[in-house]
Symmetry: C2
Subunit: 428 residues, 2 copies
Amino acid sequence: MKKLNIAIIGLGNIGSYLYNFLNKNKLILSKKNNCIPNVLYVSAKNKNRKRNVKINKKKWLKNYLDATKKKDVDLIIELIGGAEGAAKKLVFNALKNKKHVVTANKALIAKYGDQLSRIAEQNSVNLEFEASVCGGVPIIRSLKEGLIANKIKKIYGIFNGTSNYILSSMEKENKNFKDVLNNAKKLGYAEANPISDLNGNDVSSKLKILTSLCFNSFLNNNIHVEGISNIDKEDIINANLLGYKIKLLGCSELINNKIYQRVHPTLIKKSSYVAGIEGVLNAVITEGDPVGQSIIQGEGAGPQATTSALVSDICSILRGNIKFPFSISSKERKKLKFEDISERLFSAYFRFDVIDKPGVLSDITKIFSQNKVSVKRLIQNPRKNKAISSIVIITHNSKDRYLGKILKTVSSKKYILKKPKLIRIDSN
Amino acid sequence: MKKLNIAIIGLGNIGSYLYNFLNKNKLILSKKNNCIPNVLYVSAKNKNRKRNVKINKKKWLKNYLDATKKKDVDLIIELIGGAEGAAKKLVFNALKNKKHVVTANKALIAKYGDQLSRIAEQNSVNLEFEASVCGGVPIIRSLKEGLIANKIKKIYGIFNGTSNYILSSMEKENKNFKDVLNNAKKLGYAEANPISDLNGNDVSSKLKILTSLCFNSFLNNNIHVEGISNIDKEDIINANLLGYKIKLLGCSELINNKIYQRVHPTLIKKSSYVAGIEGVLNAVITEGDPVGQSIIQGEGAGPQATTSALVSDICSILRGNIKFPFSISSKERKKLKFEDISERLFSAYFRFDVIDKPGVLSDITKIFSQNKVSVKRLIQNPRKNKAISSIVIITHNSKDRYLGKILKTVSSKKYILKKPKLIRIDSN
């Protein structure tokens, strides 16, 4: 039987789990793919770190870049992480030296994916990155293979387990962002430094990759990104009363021949499918022609789910299934113009915490009317024992830039006690 | 660029849609797969039937079996249907003559898949059948590729859109089975002869195929199959009051090293994911190690969804991605023993419509106790203006054969006015 020699670079939780998994499942994977996955080398920054894995000393490379030079290496699995530095060096050199690459590195692919796929294609090797988007959810393979017939008009969903866990917990436990975050860190659902999970950047990288695959376009940095750290429990309670949940959604869509790419907290109807996704789960919804709506849901992170994705990529290479990394050749990928969301229509939720005095409400509603945004619903809640009031406004569909202008104008008013909120509403 | 010559055999709604689709999308599919899908021949039983498709006369084969003999045919797409007759002849001959085969024929694959895959493997050609299970839901490709790393312990879901549409409509419209069925026929959601959709056979074929893929086993006919025609609106109302919905589920599972394969109406908690699947949608849930739970949902039938699946198979062949039809070679597939469900534990819903007279309730509960089935909940509803009563019993977990025995014993009693009901409850 044929054999494929593998080097695993990076042996954190995921690398170690993968190493053990490939060892244990060598036989069944060989049988399924008619080719033996043979882990020949490993490398990691700290060789002596305590790991739950036994590795023969002979397998350790002196320098991680040796993997890109050794003639007996066919496939390099990059598990270093980060868009720059060692990971970048490794993957560029690997592809240049005609090694297949499998990576879980969304930051790298979202930033350098276009260049990397060109090199992979020139050298007829695979560059696979299923594990970079939504962990164990086989969304990339589904877009490239299972749904290959379809012209995708919209892709959206929950692509970050940490932020979804925090929003779910805020609702369930009626707690504020910071309390829930601290607890999530203790429970291992948030990393020690969870910034990119919370500010939308993690979702942004994943969405850019998915967008390229859906629209056969190059990666595009025109993307609106907002995180969840501004959401507080009052917003979640208000949303609930109005029949919504708040979710951090990533969404790319084609509307009247314009593509919009956006990541932001969204009010979404409780009865919708996405509203039901709780905890650390990920879910991706696609709308394609001819298939209609498809949903794929599963575990989005962790060594187990990530290994499931990495192994699906490895098996694809074991079977010799050479594919364009972005589904279509770089020569055929399109330079599409993406639109800023400022001209896109949204209905929105506003919340203003104000001093409760005459004239405030009329001033705010005047600002709405000056910006030609019409109010669909207005709820004023006085706070107990305080001379302050919370005004919640739901608007009809309006251009995003007018919504932003209202937010800016009202923010500067003296009667405003707290940074006002603008959360877009999903119309699905 | 390479070219793959295709013959489409069968030009009903699906065949015609596929023909048009391949014509329109030839360029993009060629680019994505580095190979041109070239429809060279077609054949259909009735050449002169009115179709929404223009086909050059030269493409028509004199006899459909010519496709298996012509040297310039690489791939045959079988869209005749049925486990025997023309479809069987075509696919067996095609594979013997080293033609790739793509089929949407679940009955054929569920019956002859083992033999057919052996021939395909011997001749190094593909036999692909994504479209045979759940239409546009790419579940087969996901099991064979996206989730290849996983040991699947359970697969279940809603695999038949017609029966799900009928159960959903019975609930929404508070109507009985027959009324809803007639309406479904008018609306095109049920075929003129929908027997196999309603008696569970359609789900049974799909489940057998999925089970083989999950457990690396041969197709197995040890399967418990019940349809939905016994469900009436009282059952749906009762289920609703108890916090459940009734769904026709297919399920294969590994419990204590025993495999059970079953298709039957099931009471399932309203809050569960599956309970929320309404109308003609299909959904497949897998529980795998290491990935955990995955869900894939989408359109289960119709020319559009089926074409999406057929084209994914065609593209796999365009890319030269030769795979074992059942994920692993026939030599390695296992002859697993499947267990009858009689020894499996279920809690269950019983409904007895009885003459309302003294002693009936005590007689029924005595039968439960004689069979060592303990009652969790009992509701007796007298019917207005009638001397009859409906007794609903929810049991604790009991062996299926005892549940069946109770049904049989009570059925023969004189106080029984209508065939009693036994519906198993899902414990997820």
